[in-house]
């Protein structure tokens, strides 16, 4: 067993993927000597050389667009977008090229590209550094969108993402980068990339979350036991495609679902979860699915972010609303 932070787990995963396959490249702004602004690529350039780990010019369309070309040539690029809010200059290349090349070519071309995006708030940052843009990608056919919530998942999911022949948008919960946990680096993962997982069992209501909010939900579940409430927590892990079978199964037992994310509510991933769960579990639901999310405003200045973001209390408030409906 090794104790690693999420940031270090991704680093270790990248390292292992690069060791395993010489075609894996790491590219982006400041990923080289600096090792990325979060040090997720720390030491990789030193160990794998400047051809495989390289600093790009400062332009996200260029990063994604050239990664496409590299992928067409047989490479497996891992692109780092420095912060969530800076993915949009590369958005056209992602939605019109990365997402569609396989489809366009009738299956002839594959783009095994991983786009890593540190995302989410709670770190006291300035504008554009705390956003949760996953909904923009989950709405895009052709992309697979995932987010990890624990060091072990971070380690395995990044490797699975790189090994995937489909393009993966890999959301990293930046405010959890430094959370540590023990896991066995050599024990093969129990789940494929696009699968969700029950991380706490319970019977009164179900919480579904991903990325940074998984921990918040787990804490809420612990706190709820004080009030005699038993909450089931599901880490969605994959946002597109969604893997909702475990959620359906849970909701059929609990009758109540609270879905939690930092992103704004309208058309956030929780909206799709709510719609599908309602479609599948209509007669099991005792209350409408409750969405505990960011509000429909731009991400606010840091000094009010704690009120914008769902926290333990807001999650429990959501649970109460579901239970007392």
């Amino acid at each position: 067993m090794t104790a690693l932070t999420i940031a270090k787990s991704i680093n270790a995963g990248l390292r292992r993927a690069m060791d395993a396959d010489a075609k894996v490249l790491v590219m982006g702004e400041d990923v080289g000597r600096l090792g990325g602004v979060f040090r997720v690529t720390d030491g990789l350039q030193k160990d794998f050389g400047e051809d495989r780990v390289f600093d790009t010019p400062l332009a996200e369309a260029g990063i994604i667009g050239t990664a496409i070309g590299l992928a067409l040539r047989g490479y497996r690029p891992v692109c780092e977008i420095q912060f969530d809010g800076f993915v949009f200059p590369g958005y056209d290349q992602i939605v019109s090229q990365v997402a569609k090349m396989h489809f366009r070519s009738g299956g002839r071309l594959r783009l095994p590209i991983t786009i890593r995006i540190p995302y989410g708030g709670g770190i006291g940052a300035v504008e554009h550094h705390s956003e949760s843009p996953e909904g923009y990608f989950a709405h895009t056919p052709g992309l697979k969108v995932v987010s990890c919530a624990s060091p072990a998942d971070a380690y395995w999911m990044i490797q699975q993402a790189i090994a995937s022949d489909d393009p993966i948008i890999f959301f990293e919960p930046k405010r959890r980068y430094y959370e540590k946990a023990e896991f066995d680096l050599d024990q093969e993962p129990d789940l494929p990339l696009n699968a969700s997982r029950v991380v706490a069992e319970g019977s009164d209501a179900t919480l579904a979350a991903y990325g940074p909010m998984v921990k918040t939900c787990l804490e809420a579940a612990t706190a709820a036991t004080d009030d005699g409430r038993s909450l089931e927590v599901i880490d969605l892990r994959t946002l597109s495609p969604l893997d909702l079978e475990p959620v359906y199964a849970s909701v059929r037992r609990t009758g109540r679902l609270v879905v939690v994310h930092e992103a704004q509510r309208t058309l956030g991933v929780g909206t799709e979860v709510a719609a599908r769960v309602t479609e599948e579990c209509f007669y099991s639901l005792e209350a409408p699915v409750v969405r505990v999310t960011g509000y429909d405003t731009p991400y606010p200045p840091a000094r009010v972010e704690e009120d914008y973001l769902p926290d333990l209390d807001r999650v429990l408030d959501g649970v109460e609303r579901a239970l007392s409906y």
Partner: protein, 383 residues
């Protein structure tokens, strides 16, 4: 400010803009100290081949336009007038080179060995590019303006990493050729491609077919100075060539591609040409440009000038021209029959290649569609 006062004309003037030309519009061969050396190995046979390529390209185009008129295609983007730019540059390629086209490079596709009938599917609406890009090293058409220039640059960076430049092995060293239009030069993507190529010294040649128009917008809406100059500010060479002169296009492309293969980095070629037709079959060019402009460019026709040259130099007789004509007619017939027999895809196939690894949720939608379609069959059978 004292530095380089701007030239305020996108076409430039004779004084400041050298246009590489080896064949005049009248078909006279003009000597050029430097570029002659790049094509001095060209035999009469090869000239005839070029003429054949030009003619076939034009015939593909005219047949596709006809098919569009007959309702067999939804749209067609004509290359009329740009045959020399396409054939000249494409014939400078080696098999291992890779091409990233726009949506108008039918002549390049021809030279790369793509069956022209395969180009029709996209315009008919049965597929989005049915050829295998790896088979002829000819990528799919890209419709989002300029996006492919970054793909080309990235691909070239891959070629670099593969050690496939500068080895001196003519069958190994590879270059990448990216096509785009004058309008495309305004896109951020294209400028970022220049930056990446410059910084990485990537083996990519940017080939801009400046056909003077981006749909209805004349060149002046994209630039006030000649486009080839753009390259210098990004740190690589740029030049302008007579895009209606197949020999000049061949010469400058050979040089630029070899430069790339040798590891000397990118270059920009501005092929000065003209879009003789409308933007596409959906466009009505009479709304925005004068017939007189078209007339003046007709005198510079890229196919006619080679014919005149060959006739003047007695490289070909009527039998040759008739032969090519007959071959073109055959090709047209091939296009007609193939096109008409292209089946519509089955609707449920749209789910097959969204992902390499199709998720169960998408399979479920596929089944949903199949059940729904079947319900009509059932209904019909019930009646």
């Amino acid at each position: 400010m004292t530095v380089d006062t701007a030239v305020t004309s996108a076409s430039g003037t004779a004084a400041d803009t050298e246009l590489v030309q080896l064949l005049t519009p009248e078909g006279e061969r003009v000597p050029h100290e430097h570029y002659d050396t790049l094509i001095d190995d060209i035999t009469a046979d090869e000239i005839r081949d070029l003429y054949r390529d030009l003619t076939m390209s034009r015939r593909i185009d005219s047949e596709a336009i006809a098919l569009q008129r007959q309702g067999e295609l939804g749209l067609w983007a004509s290359l009329l007038g740009q045959e020399a730019a396409q054939v000249g540059s494409a014939r400078a390629l080696r098999p291992q080179d890779h091409v990233f086209p726009t949506y108008r490079e039918h002549g390049v596709a021809w030279c790369r060995g793509v069956d022209p009938a395969q180009l029709l599917g996209l315009f008919r609406g049965v597929d989005q590019g049915s050829w295998d890009p790896k088979e002829n090293n000819f990528h799919l058409y890209t419709i989002v303006i300029g996006a492919q220039t970054l793909h080309a640059t990235g691909y070239a960076m891959g070629v670099q990493r593969d050690g496939a430049i500068g080895t001196g092995d003519p069958e190994r060293d590879a270059a990448v050729l990216a096509y785009f239009g004058d309008g495309a030069t305004s896109q951020g993507d294209v400028n970022e491609a220049f930056i990446w190529a410059g910084v990485n010294n990537a083996p990519v040649v940017f080939f801009c077919q400046n056909n003077q128009w981006a749909i209805s917008e004349p060149l002046e809406r994209q630039t006030r100075v000649p486009l080839y100059r753009r390259a210098h500010g990004f740190g690589f060479p740029g030049l302008r060539v007579d895009g209606n002169d197949v020999l000049a296009c061949l010469a400058v492309s050979r040089e630029a591609l070899q430069r790339a293969r040798d590891g000397e980095g990118p270059s920009l070629i501005e092929a000065f040409t003209y879009r003789m037709g409308a933007h596409t079959t959906s466009d009505d060019a009479s709304r925005y440009r004068l017939d007189s402009e078209l007339e003046s460019w007709r005198l510079k026709d890229p196919v006619e000038r080679v014919k005149a040259y060959m006739t003047r130099e007695k490289m070909a007789d009527q039998a040759f021209f008739d032969g090519v004509e007959a071959e073109a007619e055959q090709l047209a017939e091939h296009l007609r029959t193939t096109c008409r027999s292209m089946p519509d895809p089955h609707p449920t196939t749209i789910f097959d290649h969204v992902y390499v690894d199709t998720p169960p949720t998408l399979r479920a939608q596929q089944e949903e569609m199949a059940r729904y379609l079947d319900s009509f069959v059932d209904e019909k059978e019930a009646q």
